[in-house]
């Protein structure tokens, strides 16, 4: 395998974009930040890959105009996944591994506030047996949380502890759209939203976009003194059916974990859009108690659809660059109740 590192990262998270910006307006400033961090121009990028969803945009081919943000004259080597940024990054990492290119810029975007997100995501379900009932994402997560409580896998207090830590950490994250910790007791006194979930147990509906820059070997060393080397990258998926899955577990997360080396991880950025899902992930990944979880505040404080997972990679990489951590893991999820999971292990040294 070639040595490939994360060397650039830019993000935006907001409750609602003002007005109706096009994806070009959103992405151009992010690309600008990536060029500034790397000292490159778009011509230094060997491969481009984006992640987005037509259903979120309410139109077909929503990614087509996004390439205008690149400035694709002359044409570029480019692809798109109907997945989160983290999987767009996976495709770019593959491309670099083939030896065809040495650098890649991957990006994702989504304006979740344009519709009713929890309803939109119901369209991800089995169209023949589930979607006609319109079970929305928050309700499905509520069922999962309840299943865990009933099984004794966690309780409401453990969930509130996750939320309180996240909201406290988010105070230091300029991009978080929900922040401000209080106390576990205070959080537990707040009203139910989708029993047993309270609002702070659920990621806020978030608009946003993000971009990540990858580079191989010396290209990476030219950009940063301490590139965040990708020493493990694995992903896996479970069946969607809620009735046949043990909702207190996420076997695909455990399978992804078995494909990477998590020994010695100091920081974990976990893409858990619901508080109890962090508890599921910590168990599946076998993270020790002293692993710092979501110093960014995590998805509970800002979760732009289709970049929320990739932002975890960017946040983890930032901690490697700064020297704050020497080994970190980033996680991304997709599908209802942690159906699909990706893990990316980053290290300051190879």
């Amino acid at each position: 395998m070639r040595d490939v590192a994360v060397v650039g990262f830019a993000q935006r998270q907001m409750a609602q974009f003002d007005g109706s910006p096009t994806c070009v307006e959103l992405l151009v400033p992010l690309f600008g930040e990536c060029y500034e961090q790397t000292g490159w121009t778009r011509r230094d990028i060997g491969f481009w890959c984006s992640g987005s969803s037509d259903y979120l945009a309410g139109r077909s081919f929503s990614f087509v105009q996004a390439v205008d943000a690149i400035g694709v004259i002359p044409p570029v080597n480019e692809s798109h996944v109907e997945m989160d940024l983290a999987w767009a990054m996976y495709e770019a990492w593959l491309k670099i591994q083939t030896g065809e290119v040495d650098t890649a810029l991957v990006y994702a975007f989504g304006k979740a506030s344009a519709g009713v997100l929890r309803r939109t995501l119901a369209l991800q379900l089995d169209p023949y047996t589930m979607t006609p009932l319109w079970p929305d994402t928050v309700s499905l997560a509520g069922l999962q949380a309840r299943a865990g409580i009933d099984a004794g896998a966690w309780d409401e207090r453990a969930m509130a502890e996750v939320a309180n830590r996240s909201l406290t950490d988010a105070e230091k994250n300029e991009y978080a759209i929900r922040k401000g910790g209080s106390s576990v007791d205070d959080l537990l006194s707040r009203p139910m939203y989708a029993d047993p979930l309270r609002k702070h147990d659920c990621a806020p509906v978030t608009d946003g976009a993000a971009a990540i820059v990858l580079a191989a070997g010396d290209k990476a060393r030219e950009v940063r003194e301490r590139p965040a080397w990708i020493t493990g990258l694995a992903h896996n998926v479970d069946p969607i059916s809620m009735g046949t899955r043990d909702l207190t577990r996420a076997p695909s997360a455990a399978r992804a974990a078995s494909g990477v080396d998590l020994d010695g991880v100091e920081v974990a950025e976990l893409h858990a859009p619901f508080s109890h899902q962090e508890l599921v992930l910590r168990r599946e990944l076998g993270l020790a108690d002293d692993v710092r979880i979501n110093p960014s505040g995590g998805a509970l404080t800002g979760n732009p659809m289709f970049s929320g997972g990739g932002i975890r990679v960017g946040e983890a990489a930032s901690r490697i660059w700064s020297g704050e951590a020497s080994k970190a893991v980033a996680h991304a999820t997709s599908g209802p109740a942690l159906q699909q999971n990706l893990l990316c292990v980053l290290e300051g040294r190879i």
């Binding site: 044409p75 480019e78 591994q97 030896g99 998926v237």
Partner: protein, 388 residues
């Protein structure tokens, strides 16, 4: 580490029809997957990873359908990727699947692309009004007709060349048991007599709207050793450009020319028309055959393409047989159409194309494009292991 050799050892496709009401989306995909696995002499359990491709989710009305399909596709417990690059997606998906093997990450990869157009309405899905955008509301034919007119004007092409392509591809389709359209009576004259839809594109010069899927099994060198007839991947390429820009040449887009140049270089090909034995080119409207022949470098610009077509060189027994399977003009499950081109190219060099086999085909081109002639995906496959 250098790029690892990869080969196609299994190709499967569905019987393409306007409405496959006998199967669900999962059933449609499995029909192609099961044929590909049988061809590869493999089971789903042996597969390391699965790559799914399809065009817009609005075509079936399911957001990210690979999630609900995961279990039926055999992806549960495995890595699953979903590619979407507009009309070129079937080709791009095959390329992503190849890169999993070429990167040395996996040894046995299954890829499937599909479209079940009858579940929804493609015209509706393509006609959602967008703020600040000029509505087309004319379908793909209305969009591409001006490009075709421009080609005819520039190249001074006689107007019956499109009909030659349509008649040829519909006759070729009769030799492909999976083809959607089976019109034995189609001739140049009958095409020219058909209804004008988007001048100069007539009804018989347009692709159908199909339900269908295509699947490929792509494996590493050691696994391919067990196959009697692997199709080795000699080169893959993807290029994209903008939909609209004043300096764009929509008839012969730079992304297409750049992609072709990069592909031939990768595959070690210096004279495509001499060195390629069969081509499966994405031709949704008849005139795109001569247009792409020029753009791909098989013929001179501004006229070489139509002269090649008119001379019969692109017929099954010609110098460069194009779309022996009947092509997109005979079967068009949009998301799968590109992979069908890639898969049919593989069948040719494996000597497994049945009645539409080109004798002794050793190197073949698979080609797909999408969006407003702006996304391109291509590969060259060969019967011999690549030397480079």
């Amino acid at each position: 580490m250098a790029k690892q050799p990869a080969a196609v050892v299994g190709v499967g496709q569905t019987h393409h029809r306007a409405k496959r009401e006998d199967v669900s989306m999962a059933g449609l995909c499995r029909e192609a997957i099961d044929r590909a696995l049988l061809d590869a002499n493999m089971t789903l359990d042996e597969i390391d990873a699965i790559v799914v491709g399809k065009a817009p989710d609005l075509f079936e009305g399911v957001m990210m359908p690979e999630l609900f399909l995961a279990e039926a596709l055999g992806a549960a417990g495995k890595p699953l990727l979903r590619v979407h690059t507009a009309g070129s997606v079937g080709g791009s998906t095959a390329i992503v699947a190849s890169s999993l093997v070429q990167a040395g990450v996996h040894r046995k990869v299954l890829t499937v692309a599909y479209e079940k157009q009858s579940e929804s309405n493609a015209m509706w899905a393509l006609s959602v009004p967008l703020p600040f955008n000029m509505p087309v509301h004319a379908g793909a034919g209305g969009y591409f007709a001006p490009h075709v007119r421009s080609y005819i004007r520039r190249s001074e092409a006689p107007t019956h060349v499109g009909a030659i392509v349509a008649a040829k591809d519909r006759q070729n389709a009769l030799k492909n048991p999976y083809a959607h359209l089976r019109n034995p009576d189609t001739t140049v004259e009958s095409v020219l007599a058909s209804q004008m839809l988007w001048d100069p594109i007539r009804y018989d010069e347009t692709c159908p709207s199909s339900d269908g899927a295509c699947a490929l099994v792509i494996v590493s060198e050691d696994v391919a050793a067990a196959s009697p007839n692997p199709a080795w991947i000699h080169g893959t390429v993807m290029r994209s450009e903008a939909t609209t820009a004043a300096e764009r040449d929509q008839v012969n887009p730079q992304a297409s020319r750049d992609a072709a140049a990069a592909l031939w270089k990768q595959a070690g090909i210096t004279n495509p028309i001499e060195e390629i034995d069969a081509a499966e080119i994405y031709v949704p409207f008849s005139w795109f055959e001569p247009m792409w022949l020029e753009s791909l470098g098989f013929a001179e610009e501004n006229g070489g393409g139509w002269r090649l077509t008119e001379s019969g060189a692109t017929a099954m027994d010609g110098q460069l047989p194009v779309n022996c399977s009947g092509g997109v003009l005979s079967s068009n499950p949009i998301g799968a159409s590109g992979m069908l081109r890639f898969g049919e190219a593989a069948l040719q060099v494996r000597g497994a194309a049945g009645e539409h086999q080109v004798d002794g085909a050793r190197r073949a081109l698979g080609h797909a494009y999408g969006g407003g002639s702006q996304f391109f995906a291509m590969w060259v496959v060969g019967s011999e292991k690549p030397s480079n």
